[in-house]
Point group: C2
Chain length 312, copies 2
């Protein structure tokens, strides 16, 4: 084994340990005595998911010299549970039947318990973050942004004003803000310099935008089985990239589904979206020049590339 | 004006200033750029409400020597917004049309926006509490309890096992825990001794239990106009004091609404509930002997009495 290989094996071990500690924290904090909350929370957590936000937090921490895995377990769990809470509530509003290849909380336990499970996950985040006074404001801002983004999306669908500008504002709030919080919290926990923290915050923000654009593209093209969640829902409800890119700033009066499909056949929407996601990832990676070279930095770059290269 | 009168006027002024600062913090933190969230949050906040949790926090703070009103504005706003979040989500699950004499968020903005408004209020609490590392765990625990209590209630209705024990456990979690957090946070902010903090925590917990029992009684007896919210809903859905007290530990197979009404005519349920609430308030007041005499302590005692004497 070369020195380089040994170092990479070391990082892989650290990553595995870190992610395992985060999983443990997520299951511990949701281990309620109230059966439905515990079962529904563990159901959605056991459904997998990419854990991209905890990975981003962990890698940001490691890339600026952090080394104590126990230090990131609770914040790592917090960012994932925040995301999971919004996913559970999304499935109520969208009537989503499947989530990550398994039945949604909503479809198993019904609307009332799904609403309460989402609330429970939001409250679990308070507990996880209670030891971290200085980081709470970052997470608080991203939590508010998440709900604001979801609300703007619901408003845009209702008022049929899904312009390109509105779309970018929505994905910045509902997705990129939590990515940004993940990377900046990781950086701050490792006592990074302000310049490094800002670079990692921007990195998280930009790959968050790219992630959501690709997610919306996958939602359009993937068939239900491959994606493992109720596909096409975003489209049917008149939101997401397809609607945004074909509107070009003017509201479309015809059936949104019809016009999206027509536009899709021209292939333009998907191509443009992929190009934009690629540019965002290039920008994200370029901004990392202030972070010293390390295996963790290489992994951050690999994570950014994965965001646009994934097909699930 | 006697010295005693002057002191009381002074307390009244301090209370008014404190509550005004709390109102300001609530409106500031919910002043979102996203119109629906801002409007719906301000609608429910403008609908009044007794502000009993912030009052409890403020009086607990003053009763153990606190004097800086600015110090309690954010935590005071946090406990009220936590309660308000659960109220907005309750109205979704219960299909509540009226709340505090005005149309519910749900009935004006619809289910999707009501769900997101509740989420938004939960996230506003993160921001309010971010400067208070040591108090976050108290608030976190009460937040989890709140959602656990609501969930137990929904489960008990679904499974028709609304026993007296289950009822007490539900109200301890969904109401008394946040009352307890309010008084103990107030005490801790004023650097109270452990003995004083525990006394005030128990005080909050006991009047919280009494408050919920009286609330359930009022829900049974009050007509819709007087109470200012969709009355009778608790009963119709087979939850609350009426069901609990008439079950006596055994599940009732007949229509719950029918058996509650029959029991009501005997007058037993309401009488027993009032007695229990009275005992809880007596106990709460007795426990305050470790708190030095002051106008604030007198006001705490008056607050406890108001909890059972109110008829709205």
């Amino acid at each position: 084994m070369t020195a380089r290989e040994a170092k990479q094996e070391n990082l892989e071990q650290t990553m595995n340990d870190g992610l395992a500690a985060i999983e443990q924290a997520m299951f511990d904090v949701t281990n309620s005595e109230v059966e439905v909350l515990r079962d529904a929370s563990h159901h959605i957590l056991n459904s997998g998911g990419k854990r991209i936000r905890p990975r981003l937090l962990l890698l940001s921490y490691l890339a600026v010299g952090g080394h104590d895995i126990n230090h990131i377990a609770r914040p790592g769990a917090a960012v994932e549970l925040m995301h999971t809470a919004s996913v559970v509530h999304d499935d109520i509003n969208d009537h989503g039947i499947m989530r990550r290849g398994r039945p949604s909380v909503n479809s198993i336990w019904g609307r009332t318990f799904a609403l309460l499970t989402g609330d429970f996950l939001f409250t679990a985040v308070y507990e996880l973050m209670s030891p971290y006074k200085d980081l709470n404001i970052d997470l608080a801002n991203s939590a508010t942004a998440l709900v604001e983004g979801e609300t703007l999306q619901a408003s845009a669908v209702k008022n049929n004003n899904f312009t390109r500008e509105v779309y970018m504002r929505i994905i910045a709030l509902k997705t990129a803000a939590l990515f940004k919080a993940s990377s900046s919290i990781g950086a701050k926990l490792a006592n990074a310099t302000d310049e490094q923290t800002e670079a990692l915050a921007n990195f998280g923000f930009n790959i968050g935008l790219a992630f959501q654009i690709i997610d919306d593209i996958l939602d359009i093209v993937a068939d239900e089985e491959q994606l493992g969640k109720t596909s096409g829902i975003d489209m049917e409800q008149g939101r997401g990239l397809g609607v945004a890119l074909q509107n070009n700033g003017t509201a479309v009066k015809e059936d949104p589904m019809e016009s999206i499909k027509r536009k899709m056949l021209e292939g333009d929407t998907i191509e443009k979206g992929r190009e934009q996601a690629q540019q965002l990832v290039d920008m994200a990676i370029a901004g990392l020049h202030v972070i010293p070279e390390s295996d963790a930095k290489d992994e951050l770059i690999a994570l950014a590339k994965l965001v646009i290269e994934r097909n699930y």
